[in-house]
Amino acid sequence: MPDKPKVAFYWCASCGGCEESVVDLAESILDVVAAVDIVMWPVAMDFKKKDVEAMADGSILVSLVNGAIRTSEQEEMAKLMRKKSKLIIAYGSCAHTGGIPGLANQFEREEVLRYVYEESPSTVNPQKTRPELKVITNGSTVTLPNFFNVVRALDQVIDVDYYLPGCPPTPKLLKQALEVLLSGKLPEKGAVLAPDIALCDECPKKDTKPSDLKFTEFKRPHSIQIDPKVCLLAQSILCMGPATRGGCEGVCISGNMPCTGCFGPTSRIKDQGAKILSALASQVEARDEKGIDETLATIPDPVGTFYRYGLPVSLLRRKNFNSTG
């Protein structure tokens, strides 16, 4: 009997939700486990780095890596997985487009560290001690990974073959992806394994969107009583659906929450935030600068809104700090 194909999972800067989504395959997971040989899965099983290092290059059929790259350890592991795998799948928003951790690209490394180690409300650290990268005690050296200044999507560090979008990806998409891969009928390299059409296409509230929408303000979901039957944009709730790839089946929308864009843009788009910005602003009602500004002021955090999952892969990538110039 030929060896079962080897599959690995690895997580970088992520919340664990992606791992959870694998478990969400529910009984299907058993089929997966039966079909493949899992060689690495830090969340679920006890494999060591050296185990992977010992494997032959390219011997893993596919590695699903989730999470953004934030530390040198993640970089190192990503590179190791790349070396040992035939195919790498960036799994979930963080690996795909940088995800929520990517929002930290609005801050300098030092700002992040200072907040975490000194200023956050739950921290007590009068000496302002910070972890050292390398400590030698009793003759043995202990090193810690370096915390990068910049958060990166996976393909900004290693070559990525496919992407599974979503925060997290849906079990359905994962299952479809695995089936395709195991069948050997590989899609074109670099493909995002989800429909290349915006979410509105599959939105359950699609038919209720008017054709003459004009915004005078943008509202936030908690601030109004949402009509569950009507398009959220029609209720002035800022929904990223028109600029976001479909495939999630509109789960948030069905739960009366607007799309926040986790599937990233369609393949035609270079910058998801710029596009939704363009679409929404075009539909603002006011014609004079003052009126326009009043409407736009109701979007309190444009970067966090338009680039919630995609800041590291946006055209600007990161906030521009003059000190780096």
């Binding site: 059409i197 003459d212 035609r268 788009i269």
Partner: protein
């Protein structure tokens, strides 16, 4: 025609034009050409003295064949000038014309920069951007639209009259719209015309009646354009016909009603005589008014004010033409082309308080003097001043409201000549001493300088100096009771005080008060001073930036009669070209929706001002009607999922231009 040709590889021909010295003296064309040769995809890169010349165009055609080129770039002047020329050349060479791209290194580079190195770098950047851009070009079909043969002419002055007759004589149907009760415009008010001194009425009124009687001309006076819709070849116009309260079909212009009006004397300043006489509420502007139809002025007519007039006019009219119930009427017409001949207004002399217009009765504007010396004018051509005197000395002040940054900075072009004419007429009528105060005499027309010579021989005084003030401040007994003109005689270098009986202000020409509204209605541009803007100051002087709309006469800038007539003829000819060609080519720069990429989000539907986008309810996708799309690309920029594209302006084209422009590391950046 071949598309990508040659196994799908892109083969670019790049041509850089010297434009004589225009480009080559500032841009190192050789360096640009050599640099472009080094770029990927470029098969041929060469320089040539005049690319727009026949040999230049033939060079492109020859190279397309010999080198199997499938992309052509010409770096020369503005695409607004020669893009069409080169596209045609490319097409003749056997290539789809939209594989062509133009780089503007004259208007955008050599004519605006002096630094050769910087200009050359800029030309390289712009050329490289084009090289990257043409990789994404596609073969496209040119759009054609049919031209409706009827023409709308707005404004019935001499320019409108001439344009209307020209087109009508060529067999085209013309709608001539005039907002006043009669056509004739300013010219009808003039006495004699310079330099020939023929009588304005004598040469104008025959043309006015021709207009009235021409079977191809529909003349609507007392009417205004209310709305303009559509585009070249297919304009839909709404025209508001104001009520005259006199039935046009019935009135024969006998004027019995005017005589019988309850007002025995006129009370309202007569517009035609610029307020120098009075008219009744029911009137005809002047004896030769066309059409010869009476009009009732609602503002001053007792019937309208109180409703209790004896209506003697109604009784007087045999034909029962007077109709107080007449209502405003809106006419809808369809035309293919439009000529605007809306004319000018004279400068309001009271805006220059130094000259005392409105304060001293004997200060007149030139237009008032035209009426004053006219045999059919308020004084029957006798020169009687407002205070009853006959002037013995007259000062004519040139450039009132012209060449002055405090009022209007432009030269009104006609004032020098009409001032000379008035000087002659005043001398003829009164034998007065006439002083002309001028800054420069501009007599640059056929026989104009000769007319100036004649005036010098007539012993008219010419004092080169702009007048600072007209006042009644006498410091010598000889100045008592006179108006004193103070000016420096700049040729002598001494300030003079010239006492006169009459002052004539040669007022300038300015845009009509509502020129901005008219411009907006017709979607054309105005130059900074407010005159309508021509498409090109030299090569397209009667075209506008909106296809199918032409301009002629003083609405485009100050102009005398011969120039207005010449322009009117030119505008008529331009309209004829369109009409007789039957159809017009349009840029295929329309937007289109890639159906399987559209999510049906409706963003575009809210954006298109031309309602060219609709939603296919069955497919739940957007769909663009190519015939309605005008190619602005606003929906393309707004489509949040990149499903709408635009021919000639695809995203990839613009991204590659940006990339091409910025690729070169500027020297020692940072």
């Amino acid at each position: 025609m071949h598309g990508n040709g040659h196994n799908g590889t892109v083969r670019i021909g790049f041509y850089i034009c010297h434009c004589g010295h225009n480009i080559a003296s500032i841009v190192d064309v050789k360096a640009v050409s050599e640099y472009i040769k080094s770029l990927s995809g470029v098969v041929i890169s060469c320089e040539y003295k005049y690319m727009c010349s026949d040999p230049g165009q033939e060079l492109i055609q020859k190279d397309i064949k010999e080198h199997s080129l499938n992309r052509i770039i010409v770096a020369s002047c503005s695409p607004l000038l020669h893009e069409h020329t080169f596209r045609t050349a490319v097409e003749k060479g056997g290539l789809n014309p939209y594989y062509f791209q133009m780089v503007n290194i004259r208007e955008d580079v050599s004519w605006v920069h002096t630094d050769m190195k910087a200009a050359t770098e800029k030309a390289k950047d712009l050329s490289r951007a084009a090289v990257q851009r043409v990789f994404h070009h596609k073969s496209l079909e040119t759009k054609h639209v049919k031209i409706h043969p009827d023409v709308l002419i707005v404004g019935g002055g001499i320019a409108g009259i001439h344009a209307a007759l020209t087109l009508a004589n060529a067999g085209k149907k013309v709608y001539l719209i005039e907002r006043n009760p009669t056509i004739g415009g300013h010219m009808a008010m003039f006495d004699k015309t310079f330099p020939t001194l023929d009588c304005a009425a004598c040469i104008l009124t025959p043309k006015m009646s021709q207009v009235k009687n021409h079977p191809n001309i529909i003349l609507w006076t007392y009417s205004e354009v209310a709305k303009v819709d559509g585009y070249v070849g297919n304009y839909k116009i709404s025209i508001r016909r104001k009520p005259r309260y006199v039935n046009e079909e019935l009135c024969v212009g006998c004027m019995d009603c005017i005589e019988k009006c309850v007002y025995k004397e006129g009370k309202t300043p007569d517009e035609f005589n610029v307020g120098l006489s009075k008219r009744k509420p029911i009137y005809i502007p002047f004896p030769q008014a066309t059409p010869q139809i009476v009009v009732i002025d609602r503002e001053t007519c007792i019937e309208f004010k109180s409703g209790r007039c004896k209506k003697t006019c109604v009784e007087a009219c045999d034909r029962k033409a007077i109709d107080f119930k007449q209502k405003e009427e809106i006419k809808e017409i369809e035309v293919g082309t439009i000529i605007l001949t809306t004319g000018y207004q004279t400068f309001d002399a009271s805006r220059v308080p130094f000259y005392g217009y409105g304060k001293y009765p004997n200060v007149y504007t030139s237009l008032e003097v035209e009426r004053l010396v006219n045999a059919s004018g308020p004084t029957g051509g006798e020169l009687i001043l407002r205070d009853g005197r006959h002037p013995k000395t007259v000062g004519i002040i040139h450039c009132v409201g012209s060449r002055d940054k405090n009022t209007n900075r432009w030269c009104s072009r006609t004032c020098c000549m009409y001032s000379l004419k008035l000087a002659h007429l005043l001398k003829e009528h009164t034998d007065a001493e006439v002083y002309n105060f001028y800054i420069d005499i501009r007599a640059a027309g056929k026989s104009y300088e000769e007319f100036y010579d004649k005036l010098l021989d007539e012993n008219v005084h010419f004092i080169r100096g702009r007048v600072a003030e007209v006042s009644d401040w006498a410091v010598r007994p000889s100045e008592e009771g006179k108006l004193i003109i103070r000016a420096e005689d700049t040729l002598i270098g001494i300030v003079r005080r010239v006492p006169v009986d009459m002052v004539v202000l040669a007022v300038g020409m300015e845009p009509q008060a509502d020129s901005q509204d008219v411009r907006r209605m017709f979607n054309i541009s105005c130059s900074t001073e407010g005159f309508f803007l021509e498409r090109h100051p030299k090569l397209a002087p009667v075209d506008t930036f909106t296809d199918g709309i032409f301009i002629a006469g003083a609405c485009q800038g100050p102009k005398d009669i011969p120039d207005s007539v010449a322009q009117a003829g030119a505008a008529a000819a331009q309209a004829l070209i369109l009409i007789d060609s039957g159809e017009i080519e349009l840029e295929p720069n329309t937007a289109y929706v890639v159906q399987n990429e559209c999510s049906g989000c409706r963003t575009c539907l809210t954006i298109c001002p031309f309602t060219a986008i609709s939603r296919d309810e069955a497919k739940q996708k957007a769909f663009i009607n190519e015939a309605l799309c005008k190619g602005c690309g606003t929906c393309v920029a707004a489509c949040p999922s990149g499903a709408i594209k635009q021919n000639l302006f695809e995203d990839e084209m613009i991204f590659s231009e940006i990339d091409g422009l910025l690729k070169m590391e500027s020297p020692a950046c940072c």
